[in-house]
């Protein structure tokens, strides 16, 4: 680079803090003559000093920088900024290099770029202005990520939609009435989270003011919005949900009540706020490394995108209201989903046929002890649909949806029980297979499966893009096989068999319903008028079901611990050492039978077995019956 591309002589105006750059500037490698000047000295005779100045290097706090920007309007000099060590945002927005010698060279270059200056109520805005609350977006400059997150979370709990009247200038000349929890004017498009929303649509020299309005339906919705913002790719040009975007050379923002306005992180003025662009009013030295000059010089187009903001009747309802935790939804907004759910809740001929076929398949698979056949039955089973519809009905207190869903589920249950019972009665051979036994001891773990599957089912149903995952949900929760086992219990005239299997089905039914209800609520399908009665009833039933499930789980744990302990027991009977292996405790109603392998070196005789029995009764329980398989050590 030739020497002529640098200024030959430069005035360096600084504050106390900025004085640290005097020496590096004086020692610049280019040979530019530097004249340091403290801001206090400049203030005494600004006109005399600045009259013939072409370029000034400055260093100091943001207030000082704005003061110098003000002087530059009057005296038309360009500015090279040397940011203080903590002014990372400024360094970033100017694309400055990291090391000081390179920054000095950048500041001394004779190639300043013109950029816009925004004046809001006659105050200079360099980065952003914020009105109201936009958690995570409206943080002061130089806020750490952790601080930003903490402040954002604190602000989330008291978000309200405030009415805003916005009028634009330029060609559009539009009056807009809406509500938002906060709005942010973004000038610098690189360093803040807010700027990520519009980074591909704006620049500091497009002659436009970029106004972002945030109007979430709920706190959950806002959290989702911020999350999407964080993971948003650079190329993403779509606006996030709950966000409005206005781009105009002139914007006036009015509120019902006077609201404070922060400009560049400092309380500066109040509403009404009138902002206008002074196009290319300031010339600043930028770094060159990744600086896109073409984009910087391109003029912007006016834009008004407020589809996601409340308007009309919605505005009247929303304004001045605290934002709820969960999103409410009108049926019109999700028409397609509600049509599908209502259809699922109705009894169709295909429901009856599928229910019959899946039960026949499940019952046969259970008798065959074939997991693959049973999985086939799970996939055929049509019960998940009405259960998810029931969940939505409960959430929205839609009595017709609830009644229809319950009717359909009840019919499905009756079909399954009858089919399995009839098949069992006519089966000549009725073994209790492993697949049946696996459904006779429901525990809280099954409830966890049901709850997870219910949440997954509701989530999957809500987004047609992932509808194919419903098959996985059906397999996970397996509604028809427990019903088939319960039906087999009826066919066998075995109430315990029926009861345990039906408990598993009930667990699935209640778990799915509750989880799906909650999931629909989180996703945002609550009605505007809330009723907690339905959820409370399901929750109460869930609590009731949890008791036997917990007891069964506890019993299984105790049994396993008992079996494991037994595998560490040894008996010394009549001089013979007996090693216990593979203990299995079976509950045969009145008596517990412990089936064990006994490993012994010696032949066991009747006396030995009598002594073993005596020891077992003495040390353990007289009720415990042992069935032993003796294995001899060669």
């Amino acid at each position: 680079m030739s020497e002529s591309e640098y200024h030959a002589s430069v005035l360096f105006v600084h504050t106390e803090e900025g004085a640290v750059f005097v020496e590096p500037l004086l020692a610049n490698r280019i040979g530019t003559t530097i004249t340091p000047l403290h801001i206090d000295d400049l203030r005494q005779q600004p006109t005399d000093i600045l009259e013939h100045v072409d370029h000034i290097v400055i260093a100091g706090d943001l207030k000082f920088i704005k003061e110098m920007v003000g002087y530059s309007f009057e005296h038309h000099f360009s500015i090279g900024i040397l940011p203080l060590p903590y002014q990372k945002t400024i360094a970033g927005s100017l694309y400055l290099p990291d090391d000081l010698p390179s920054r000095v060279e950048t500041a001394l270059r004779n190639n300043a770029q013109p950029i816009d200056i925004i004046l809001c109520n006659d105050q200079i805005l360099l980065f952003k202005a914020a009105i109201g609350r936009s958690p995570m977006l409206d943080n002061p400059l130089e806020t750490s990520r952790l601080r930003m997150l903490w402040d954002g979370l604190r602000k989330l709990w008291d978000l309200r939609l405030q009415p805003f009247s916005i009028s634009t200038g330029g060609d559009t000349q539009k009056e807009i009435s809406t509500a938002a929890c906060g709005c942010t004017i973004v000038q610098q498009h690189r360093t803040s989270l807010a700027s990520r929303l519009i980074a591909n649509d704006s620049s500091a020299a497009d002659g436009m003011i970029s106004l972002v309005l945030v109007a979430p339906f709920s706190i959950i919705d806002y959290a989702r919005f911020v999350f999407h913002l964080l993971i948003r790719s650079e190329s993403d040009k779509t606006l996030s949900q709950s966000t409005g975007y206005i781009k105009s050379p002139e914007i006036t923002i009015a509120t019902e009540k006077e609201m404070p306005v922060e400009i560049d992180g400092e309380p500066a003025t109040t509403t009404p706020l009138h902002c206008q662009v002074l196009p290319l009013a300031l010339r600043v030295n930028f770094g060159e490394t990744s600086f896109d000059k073409a984009r910087l010089t391109a003029r912007g187009k006016e834009r008004i995108d407020i589809k996601a903001l409340p308007a009309g009747k919605e505005l009247a309802k929303a304004k001045n209201k605290k934002i709820p935790f969960f999103t409410y939804a009108s049926e019109e907004r999700f028409k397609e989903l509600f049509v599908s759910l209502r259809s699922d809740a109705r009894i169709h001929s295909f429901f009856v046929v599928l229910m019959l076929l899946s039960t026949i398949l499940a019952t046969t698979g259970l008798y065959l002890d074939s997991a693959s056949v049973i999985i086939g039955a799970m996939l055929l089973a049509p019960l998940m649909g009405p259960i998810v519809s029931l969940a939505m009905g409960i959430l929205r207190q839609d009595e017709s949806l609830i009644t229809r869903s319950i009717g359909t589920i009840a019919l499905g249950v009756v079909i399954a029980l009858l089919t399995a019972a009839i098949m069992t009665i006519f089966f000549p051979y009725r073994p209790v297979t492993g697949e049946m036994q696996a459904r006779l001891s429901p525990t809280v773990l099954d409830l966890i499966v049901a709850i997870t599957a219910g949440a997954a089912g509701a989530y999957t149903k809500s987004y047609k893009e992932i509808l194919q995952s419903l098959a996985g949900v059906a397999i996970a929760v397996a509604l028809v096989p427990p019903l088939a086992v319960a039906g087999i219990g009826i066919g066998r005239h075995d109430p315990v068999f029926f009861g345990q299997a039906f408990l598993l089905f009930s667990t699935n039914l209640v778990g799915i319903t509750l989880a799906a209800t909650f999931t629909f609520r989180v996703i945002g399908f609550s009605p505007a008028v809330k009723s907690k009665r339905g959820i409370a009833i399901v929750f109460f039933i869930l609590l009731l079901i949890t008791i036997p499930l917990y007891l069964t789980y506890h019993e299984i744990l105790e049994t396993r611990e008992f079996e494991q302990r037994w595998e560490e027991e040894r008996f010394y009977v009549n001089g013979k050492y007996l090693i216990i292996q593979n203990a299995l405790l079976k509950d045969y109603g009145e008596k517990d039978v412990l089936i064990v392998d006994i490993v012994s070196r010696d032949l066991l005789e009747r006396d030995d077995l009598e002594e073993l029995r005596r020891k077992v009764r003495y040390y353990f329980s007289s009720e415990l019956v042992i069935r032993a398989n003796v294995i001899y050590i060669p």
Partner: protein, 382 residues
């Protein structure tokens, strides 16, 4: 009964576990009966003796009265860890008629010479740690709380043979000690009877043999396990010598090994890490309700760590108390002796204990592995 009341009672029954509550402390009736504990409160085994007294005291703190309100007190008599001291203590106790029974913390070689005199004194004696089978022979007044060496030796042999599937062992024993020599003999008899080979039987006298040379020979002979029927001091010498020659064979000791090393040779406890030992207890097994209460109380009362000796003393005190409680005249020594020998299904710290008419105890034996100063459970043999 009104239905509501019935339901309330049912709920109360469920929440109280529906099980028997511990009986509330009896009202004191002013009478006192004493239990003597004879233990080494001086001499080299002093720490073990003090540990035993702590265990007995723990039990008495929990159950200070008998069912009829008679207060139970403990009289500690020092035997100095010697035969003479024990005999002298028994003579003193014999003359104190309010002492109903004796807990004797003495090794087998100290008790065996006293056996012929037991019937003369006619005072019920519960031997806490002595495991020689002859202690209960030829007298009607000495009972054992622990299993005997026939049982202990056999279990050690069978565990090594049938569970570890080991063919060749070497046995160290101490011919000067009746307990260890008997134990070694029983071990070898059982191990040979199940097809195992005792490659070498060695007596330990460090003054006469170089343990490193002996162990080097055993390594060359491909001996797989060393059975150590020797006192804890000798066990440490063998373990140190094995480490010196960089040999790490499986080793198994006997009851009370870890407790003695912990109390008397604490700084050397690392040498027995990984060694197996038969014992009355295990550190990591769930204890009974009684066990939980005793362990909790001991921790509250004492800063020291409980050992096998503490546990035996606590169980022994409780068993003797129950035996006394079953007699109408609490100081009737003949009655106490009879009821002591009729202890059935006493809920000990880790399971049931019975003392039969012949004075022998029926209780499980634990095969443990010593790990970081604790007895980690391997198997429990009934």
């Amino acid at each position: 009964m009104p239905k509501v009341l019935y339901n309330l009672l049912l709920i109360f029954f469920i929440f109280t576990g529906g099980c028997e509550q511990p009986s509330s402390p009896s009202q004191p009736n002013g009478s006192v009966v004493r239990i003597a504990i004879v233990a080494p409160l001086s001499g080299p085994d002093q720490k073990s003796g003090e540990n035993v007294v702590s265990g007995a005291q723990t039990n008495l703190t929990m159950f200070p009265y008998l069912g009829d309100g008679t207060k139970v007190e403990l009289v500690a008599e020092d035997n100095g860890g010697t035969k003479e001291g024990t005999l002298s203590a028994l003579k003193r106790i014999h003359e104190q008629k309010d002492i109903a029974g004796v807990l004797l913390m003495a090794k087998s070689d100290i008790i065996l010479p006293i056996v012929p005199l037991a019937d003369h004194y006619q005072i019920p004696i519960l031997a806490l740690i002595a495991t020689h089978p002859d202690i209960t022979e030829g007298n009607d007044f000495i009972a054992q709380l622990g299993f005997d060496d026939i049982y202990q030796g056999a279990i050690a042999a069978l565990y090594i043979r049938d569970e570890m599937l080991i063919d060749r062992v070497a046995v160290f024993s101490d011919p000067g000690n009746v307990h260890y020599s008997y134990l070694a003999r029983e071990f070898m008899r059982k191990f040979s009877s199940v097809g195992g080979e005792v490659a070498r039987h060695l007596t330990v006298d460090p003054a006469q043999i170089d343990l490193r040379v002996v162990l080097e020979q055993l390594r060359e002979d491909e001996v797989q396990v060393l059975y150590l029927a020797v006192n804890p001091e000798n066990v440490l010498q063998i373990a140190k010598a094995a480490r010196e020659i960089s040999w790490n064979p499986d080793m198994m000791g006997s009851d009370g090994l870890l407790s003695t090393i912990f109390l008397q040779y604490g700084e050397d406890i690392g040498f027995v890490n990984g060694m197996m030992a038969t014992d009355f207890y295990s550190t990591n097994l769930p204890s009974t309700e009684y066990g939980r209460r005793v362990i909790g109380k001991f921790k509250k009362l004492y800063s020291e760590r409980g050992t096998t000796y503490t546990a035996l003393a606590s169980e022994g005190t409780s068993i003797l108390q129950q035996a006394i409680d079953r007699c109408e005249t609490k100081t009737d020594r003949n009655c106490v002796n009879t009821t002591l020998r009729d202890t059935d299904e006493f809920e000990g710290l880790f399971g049931k204990i019975s003392i039969h008419r012949d004075g022998k105890a029926e209780r499980p034996i634990f095969v443990n592995i010593i790990k970081d100063g604790k007895l980690e459970f391997l198997v429990k043999v009934y």
